[in-house]
Amino acid sequence: MITNNKQNMLIWIGLAISAVVPLLLPNYITVLTYIWVMIILALTWDMLGGQTGYTSFGNILFFGVGMYVSAVVQRDMFSSGLDRFERVSEIVVNLNASEYFVSLAVGTLAGAIVAVILAVILGSGILGMRGHYFAICTLGLGHAAAEIASGIDYIGAGSGMVTPIYPGELALSKEAFYYYAFMLFAIVTFFLFRKIYQSQFGLALNAIRDNENKAESMGIHTTQYKIAGWSIAAFFLAIAGAGVGNVIGFIDPVEIAFSGPTFGVWMIVMAILGGKGTIWGPVLGAVILYSAKETFWTYLLGWDKVALGLLIVIIVVYFPKGVLGYFKERKQLSNSILSQKGEG
């Protein structure tokens, strides 16, 4: 087993490289930003999906809620209120630097809190259900949220919203700011989640995954742990959503905020691809899948979705336990062969 210390050293080397890469490859800075976003998406999905084995198809809900709540706070916090005759989707707010960052921080936090409240309420309703029933219940969440958002004029209804313009007077470009912000946030998420998985709480999640009946019969309030796990995921995912809304600069309820077919599916595939139920699996899966997606998009114009679909099929068929699981098994196999030779 690789110790935390060894892992940490590798991490710091990786981070040193990550910190200078955008300076060397300025054209790729947005793509690189998205890799950090994807790592957060995969890590948060895995909290419930991997650690407790409860597959959620609805986590995109928290992503979109964080995005919208933050955008509304950013829009309204320092402006004098909406002009009733203006079309909401066209309102562009100009803020000075301090207003921009204060409203961004407040908005992000507000989005995260609303997402947690939603996770607790929804979780109390459906996390009492076992495995597949829960999964089925989450299927419509993203779609329902998109429908609802499309009907609310205050947030631009079906036409969506525009996030405030990044203040021009700063030395740090918008792209660089969000790159480093997401890099920092992904690191914080990674270390916090690792600490959680090595704690009593993390082991309770794994106990639910391995044998929920047993966990219950041993007095563990399994539903409460599942709700807590989902809420933690919602908190971090909503923060990512708030950031992505600002990176794109425009929020569409169906195509961006509650986009099941893109972000919603990717977070699941990335975690499974890398190896769900591990801390490194989602990180690895995010890097591989997003790099593959960008490569396909660049070189296979028009066929990129087909190629991505093919990749997903290959993963499911040949790497059902993810890349990490695959290598772990290979290693165990070679270990047992070696030990047999040693005995002979």
Binding site: K195, I196, Q198, S199, Q200, F201, L203, A204, N206, A207, R209, D210, N211, N213, K214, A215, E216, S217, M218, G219, I220, H221, T222
Partner: protein, 244 residues
């Protein structure tokens, strides 16, 4: 004092009457046995007691408190734990982790995001040694033999410091060479830790040896109860086991 008191409990699964008018009492600190042919409703009775399913009628008192409407975790937290006929362990976790998570994690929930305390880890080592699994402590529980899993499950229950343990056929499927050791440990737990035991057992030799009082179920109803010798010689019990 009677620690557990089951009063005319009924439980049916659809048309199948699994328990009918079943009563029993378990005095504190004693070892009580339940025997009966396969399908006579023994496991169902355990499930009713620990809150696995609602009962159709009757009452269940634990330390004088009516518990038949409580949930499994609530009853477990009152100090009553059960083990399963088919082993229930956390297969993808090591023996140590199985034991750690069986400690009372909710008791100090403020430390829930910390690793396990030193006291817990010491208790884990001690109990794993007690059941003879110390050397296997870093193996995945799912890789243990069936008998070893039963020992692990027993040790896990002890982590919770229960006041009463309900054991569902603890020796079934266990290698005969391990059975005597297991019985010794059950008795030791009862004598040294004062834990009351209610044991379902198929193996007559085992239960006659272990229990001070035995109940016999047949076809979902309580057929007889008494001291081991009386039960052994009871014609109704003999018929239930040998007859149709």
């Amino acid at each position: 004092m009677d620690q557990l008191n089951v009063k005319s409990v009924d439980k049916a699964y659809g048309g199948v009457i699994a328990n009918h008018d079943v009563s029993l009492t378990v005095p504190e600190g004693k070892i009580v046995g339940i025997i009966g042919p396969n399908g006579s409703g023994k496991t169902t009775l355990f499930n009713s007691i620990v809150g696995h399913h609602p009962i159709d009628s009757g009452e269940i008192h634990f330390n004088g408190k009516e518990i038949s409407s409580l949930t499994i975790p609530q009853i477990a937290r009152l100090g009553m734990l059960r083990t399963f006929q088919q082993t229930h362990i956390y297969g993808k976790m090591t023996c140590v982790q199985n034991m750690q998570i069986s400690s009372d994690i909710d008791a100090n929930w403020k430390r829930i995001f910390n690793p396990f305390s030193k006291e817990v880890d010491e208790m884990v080592d001690e109990l794993l040694a007690f059941v003879g699994l110390y050397k296997k402590r870093f193996l995945l529980a799912g890789d243990l033999s069936f008998g070893q899993q039963k020992l692990l499950e027993f040790a896990m229950a002890l982590m919770k410091k229960p006041t009463i343990l309900l054991l569902d056929e603890p020796t079934a499927g266990v290698n005969p060479t391990l059975i005597n050791g297991l019985i010794d440990r059950l008795r030791q737990v009862n004598e040294e830790k004062g834990i009351t035991l209610l044991v379902i057992e198929h193996n007559m030799r085992v239960i006659m040896n272990l229990a001070e009082h035995i109940y016999c179920l047949a076809n979902g109803t309580m057929l007889a109860d008494g001291k081991p010798d009386d039960i052994q010689n009871d014609q109704r019990v003999i018929d239930a086991y040998l007859g149709n």
